[in-house]
């Protein structure tokens, strides 16, 4: 495990101001907008207090939004030749991956917390301290497969196409997974599709302190599965990326 590369990666995301602005404000604003826009019918159908329901979902979306954005920066590093440069050093694929994931986690934690704090202060959401920890830390750890997905997008996209691919992923994962908008607002078939989308399970973890849901274990299992699959894909891709045939 190489810490020098990890430290550099964390420093770099720390300096990327545009990510911090997006990470802290975008999910928070989306939360406040929806909490005040959707009233009545939709809000009544979610089963728990609407502000609470949204808080869990959008804190999850904040995590995946950040994770995809940070990971997909790899596309630019490939375009500039930085990846090639790393390939001729003894840096192991494992160290590379751990550094990328850590960088994503470093930004994801404040992004999740920002939504939680907004809910607590402005929307009157109340939870015991254990509940808050479950919400924040659960989503935080659960964002790992999305960080891997971001890296994977960065590995297969070009510098030109990465922006579009990342945005599409934000939308698909956010909308279909029910993290960005309340899934109860959708027709029946979309709610069923939602169940196979990994972000659905991250949102379930986010709402679990409010819903008293017992499917946290299942969510963790599904997300762990995605982590293994995407982790393998990213490692293989890293090993073969720079070797032109």
């Amino acid at each position: 495990m190489n810490t020098g590369f990890l430290v550099l990666e964390v420093k770099r995301v720390g300096r990327a101001r545009q990510f911090w602005i997006g990470a802290l404000f975008f999910p928070t604003v989306l939360y406040l907008m929806q909490a005040n826009l959707f009233r009545g019918d939709i809000a009544d159908r979610v089963g728990v207090d609407f502000s609470e329901y949204l808080l869990g979902s959008l804190a999850a979306w904040a995590a995946l939004f950040v994770a995809l954005n940070i990971g997909s920066r790899v596309a630019l590093e490939r375009a500039t030749g930085w990846q090639r440069q790393l390939r001729i050093t003894p840096l192991s694929p494992t160290s590379y991956l751990i550094a990328k994931l850590t960088a994503s986690l470093v930004v994801a934690l404040p992004a999740i917390t920002a939504v939680a704090v907004t809910g607590g202060l402005l929307e009157g959401v109340r939870l015991p301290i254990v509940g808050w920890l479950q919400l924040i830390l659960g989503i935080w750890v659960g964002s790992l497969p999305f960080a891997l997905l971001g890296v994977f997008i960065g590995q297969i996209a070009s510098a030109d196409s990465v922006q579009a691919l990342t945005s599409i992923s934000h939308m698909l994962l956010g909308v279909l997974g029910g993290a960005m908008f309340p899934v109860v607002a959708f027709p029946e078939w979309m709610q069923r599709v939602s169940a196979i989308i990994p972000s659905h399970w991250l949102a379930v973890i986010g709402r679990s302190p409010f819903e008293g849901d017992s499917s946290v274990g299942l969510s963790a299992l599904v997300l762990a599965g995605w982590t293994v699959v995407l982790g393998t894909a990213v490692t293989l891709r890293y090993l073969h990326d720079s070797a032109q045939d």
Partner: protein
């Protein structure tokens, strides 16, 4: 010119025991219809400083990429200190400066070097590397560096890894004369300790000043391989062309200072190491010689001359 110049596997110099730094045999690589590397055999002993020269598109970069494991050969074997390229990279014995190798714009030189040093078991002290490469004053700046400064930073990244083998792909391309001198001064200071250095270049004077062996590559093949004086004697030579009635190529090859002869009827094109001596003797032996022209020889012409030189190999 002697038989040492030829597209053959060079004899190990015996300067160091153990496996050769680089051993390449029967190497081929095509990109589509283009044969980038077309059958190269090359052995570089530990401790040698070798210049790989050739015109653009000769296959130098492809060869270096394959030695680094960045490009997979179609055919052939490569070993680096007896290991595969990938193993050699993982063990940290190779340090390479790629052409236009990428740097990061959001970190300082010191941060970049600290990271590079952390990847290696016995890195060179960062302050020392900054001093050697003349970057001490710029170490903590996070603004964009100039072209020459960036290239010195690339070199610093390579040096900090303290490698046994340095592979430099056109390290001074796009540098002005002053920057080039500074670069090679840094290199000399660093490699005094008997490291193996292989650099690709199309500047002949760099090879002359710095390498003890020169490998000439053209169209993906090694066309000549010898010491600097051997290569230089041809490349520094002049071309002499003349119409010499009644002479044949054999006669002219016997003239002093002549390296190669090409005949077209009565007209002869000579490559001379000493064109004055050759011209004097030409007039003495063949008073009817006329239309004599003596001109400086181009590097390209020298390469061509070498392919047909005695002991050289024509493919």
């Amino acid at each position: 010119m002697n038989n040492a110049v030829g597209a053959t596997v060079a004899e190990p110099t015996g300067r160091a025991a153990g496996p050769p730094a680089i051993k390449v045999s029967g190497l081929y690589k095509s990109f589509g219809d283009v044969r980038a590397v077309d059958g190269i055999d090359l052995q570089i002993a530990s401790g040698e400083v070798v210049a790989v020269l050739g015109p653009n598109g000769a296959g130098k970069s492809t060869l270096i990429d394959m030695v680094l494991g960045l490009t997979r050969p179609d055919r052939g074997e490569i070993s680096v200190f007896g290991n595969t390229p990938r193993e050699a990279i993982t063990r940290g014995v190779i340090g390479a400066t790629l052409q236009e190798g990428a740097l990061l714009d959001d970190v300082s030189a010191r941060e970049l070097l600290t990271m590079a040093a952390s990847l290696h078991a016995r890195p060179q002290p960062i302050e020392e590397v900054l001093r050697i490469t003349g970057l001490t004053g710029l170490a903590d700046r996070r603004t964009r560096l100039s072209g020459g400064q960036r290239q010195r930073l690339r070199l610093a990244m390579t040096l900090v890894s303290n490698p046994r083998l340095l592979l430099l792909d056109e390290p001074t391309v796009a540098m002005d004369v002053e920057a080039r001198q500074l670069f090679w001064a840094s290199m000399r200071e660093f490699t005094d300790g008997g490291r193996t250095v292989v650099f690709a270049s199309h500047y002949l004077d760099e090879a002359e000043d710095y390498a003890d062996r020169v490998v000439l590559i053209r169209s993906g093949s090694v066309i000549a391989d010898g010491t600097v004086p051997e290569i230089r004697s041809v490349v520094a030579g002049r071309s002499l062309s003349a119409t010499v009635p009644g002479a044949n190529a054999e006669h002219l090859r016997e003239l002093p200072g002549v390296v190669t002869v090409e005949a077209r009827g009565d007209h002869f094109d000579l490559v001379c190491a000493d064109s004055d001596a050759a011209a004097r003797e030409l007039f003495a032996r063949f008073p009817r010689a006329h239309d004599v022209e003596i001109a400086a020889i181009s590097l390209e012409k020298a390469f061509l001359a070498l392919t047909s030189a005695e002991g050289g190999e024509t493919r």
